[in-house]
Symmetry: C2
Subunit: 379 residues, 2 copies
DNA sequence: CAGCTTCATGCAATCGATTGTTTGCGCAAT
DNA sequence: ATTGCGCAAACAATCGATTGCATGAAGCTG
């Protein structure tokens, strides 16, 4: 699987040299090798070190460092200058412990390595860091048990807020409740629980597929199939509803055979769905897929069967992953703003954190729009 | 940009009910709304709470919870049962502060939302969590200044180890040195500094492009162009070297005109490079791109010009991003194991953490292999 | 010059858990 | 009855920073 290169060399340990012991070891071959052994002792400077060196108390140092008015000008200057000189760095662990709140935001997502989610996490990281907060991540792998474990670890780490995009499996929320019970705000992102009593940042999933379906209808589609996601997720039910509502609005019949359900939404499953849909006695002339993976597979499958896209079959996906502009024909898709969603979730969290008593809107809904491309646009 | 839905409802705060005040407010319209205001006071149970309720000291509780032999059987049982009953959760902040080391691993990468990197981070998260560690992430956006800021924040958070994939801008490492000075292990991943005095997990970049170039040569290419990355990154220089070495081994001349350099490696830049390479008086018959973005753009550009792939032009990319199996013809690429690399980096970190005195191999090299696909395979 | 304010600083408790060092008790041996 | 031992548990210091309150000196007022 891998080969390891074994290289011996002295460690670089400047400032703590006095705390280290330089010793010479003899290797089995008898050739001496010089080796620095780093002792456990850290070289970290604390306010007490500063205090001792300046002959003042540590409370004075603490106050001076944040320019408290009750500390004399000269003392303040002296403290700050020594702090800089010795490279003093406040210990966040101690600060958080004392202040009874940390500045770490926990994030739970199903998988990080998916285009939409990694964008979301990127947005979270950006907004958090700009505000001086740090971001703890974890993946649930769509498993409720793992999600529970991750939530528990976050709780023990005393995060100051939690962002969750639920696993598909998740229908119970006891592991989330513990945060609310302790006054730690929770914001759901994208994958939202049924429960209305929670903060959330999301898109209007019903409206999104409604728009996407209307787009297909405007392109002349009359028999539109829909690949739906696992129905235990509210999100996927809403998307299905948008599809149904659009058909109804435009007077198209709803045919149960055209409603397929995916569980894992992988490319492989996409092929299976495509095969199923396109071998119907009366096959669809348009497909609304609940994600881009399955839409892409459908394009590939249709092309292999000589079905022309978009003339015979118009296709639209969901998420607007990067592949949309790579596959040929380019895949139309529903764009949802991942990075913005992450940023918005963080700002939502901060609103709750800041105004504990003031009412914060429960729900933030971000705009989506259809990205019309060659896979569905009949010119 | 977005609309906010404003919903009023009572917060769900079971366990801390005694600490909350249920009050009735009158809205401007005169309609009373019941509202729960959560006070700052946390309901968190500490060992002192357990101690008080059981009439023992907190040190006894602490020891009982970890089944220390010096605590009597009955006491231990009583402590554990009360702990469970009250939902006691150890405060990691306090534990870390006391034990002088946390269980958080810091990760700095250029961008999370890139396929290879998000896989890497996924691997890190998985390995870390399995070992009971948590993962702090941050992005440098290829900026040294931001990387320095992120490192500083991590230092203040007293992470127990750092994983870094350097920004392209980064050529100085003072911000990394502070960790080594404090005995905090640092492992570089993928993007490695010049300095040999560091731990690293990587692929053999020279060998990788060597193999990729040989692959093209075996397919009959005689004029192979190379899109190189920013040369200040060692990685990209090594990749260029592999290309040059392979040409030399097979007696092919090295033509400077065929060596193009990209700085941002975006799809757009890929188009520019493709245009430049393919409009040469004596254009190449094979292209080795330093990433998949630019390779994909080259395929698209070549197709638009009626250049046949792979007959007229064979193309191979680097990273094996998901698009490789989507684009047509499918893009050959050099596969590097992202998830494994992340896991390996964490395990490397743990090795250093565990054996402070024992020698740990400096460098771990993971295998790569060519994924031959239609873009380069001439049957 | 006693009494008061103002200013700069120190003291000590606190956050929650860990851990080296007593202490107190019961029991057996001398 | 004294000594010694072992067990179970308490005491107290510690990690690094924060913060309410006390202190003490200088300066001002009547």
């Amino acid at each position: 699987m891998h080969e390891a290169v074994f290289v011996l060399s002295a460690e670089c340990i400047d400032n703590v040299a006095m705390l280290n012991h330089k010793i010479a070891l003899l290797s089995p071959s008898g050739i001496p090798r010089t080796h620095l052994i780093s002792m456990k002792k850290k070289s970290n400077v604390t306010i007490h070190d500063l205090a001792r060196q300046l002959g003042v108390s540590s409370s004075t140092v603490s106050r001076a460092l944040k320019s408290h008015h009750s500390i004399g000008e000269e003392t303040t200057k002296a403290v700050k200058s020594l702090a800089k000189e010795l490279g003093y760095r406040p210990n966040n662990l101690a600060v958080s412990l004392r202040k009874q709140h940390s500045t770490s935001i926990g994030v739970i997502v199903p998988h990080i390595n998916r285009p939409f989610i990694s964008s979301l996490v990127s947005g979270v990281e950006q907004a958090a860091r700009e505000a001086g907060y740090s971001v703890l991540i974890s993946q649930s792998y769509e498993s409720l048990d793992i999600e529970i474990g991750n939530a528990s670890a976050f709780f023990n780490s005393r995060i100051c807020g939690l962002l969750v995009s639920c696993a598909n499996e998740t229908t119970e929320y006891a592991h989330i409740q513990q945060f609310k019970d302790s006054g730690i705000p929770v914001v759901f992102v994208d994958r939202i629980p049924e429960n209305d009593e929670c903060y959330k940042v999301m898109i209007d999933n019903r409206e999104a597929t409604f728009k996407a379906t209307e787009h297909l209808i405007r392109q002349g589609c009359r028999r539109i199939a829909h690949y739906g996601g696992p129905p235990q997720q509210l999100m996927y039910r809403l998307r299905r509803q948008g599809y149904i509502d659009a058909l109804a609005k435009h007077g198209l019949p709803f045919d149960e055979n055209l409603l397929l359900t995916a569980t894992k939404l992988t490319p492989e499953e996409g092929f299976m769905l495509a095969e199923k849909a396109l071998s119907l006695p009366n096959p669809p002339d348009g497909i609304l897929a609940v994600n881009d993976n399955t839409a892409v597979s459908t394009i590939l499958y249709a092309k292999s069967k000589g079905i022309r896209i978009p003339q015979d079959l118009a296709i639209i996906g969901f998420n607007d992953d990067p592949v949309c502009t790579i596959i040929e024909p380019n895949l139309s898709s529903l764009h949802q703003p991942g990075v913005e969603m992450g940023k918005m979730a963080v700002s939502h969290l901060f609103n709750i954190l800041d105004n504990e008593i003031v009412d914060v809107p429960r729900t933030t809904i971000l705009d989506t729009h259809v990205m019309p491309r060659a896979s569905s646009v009949r010119s």
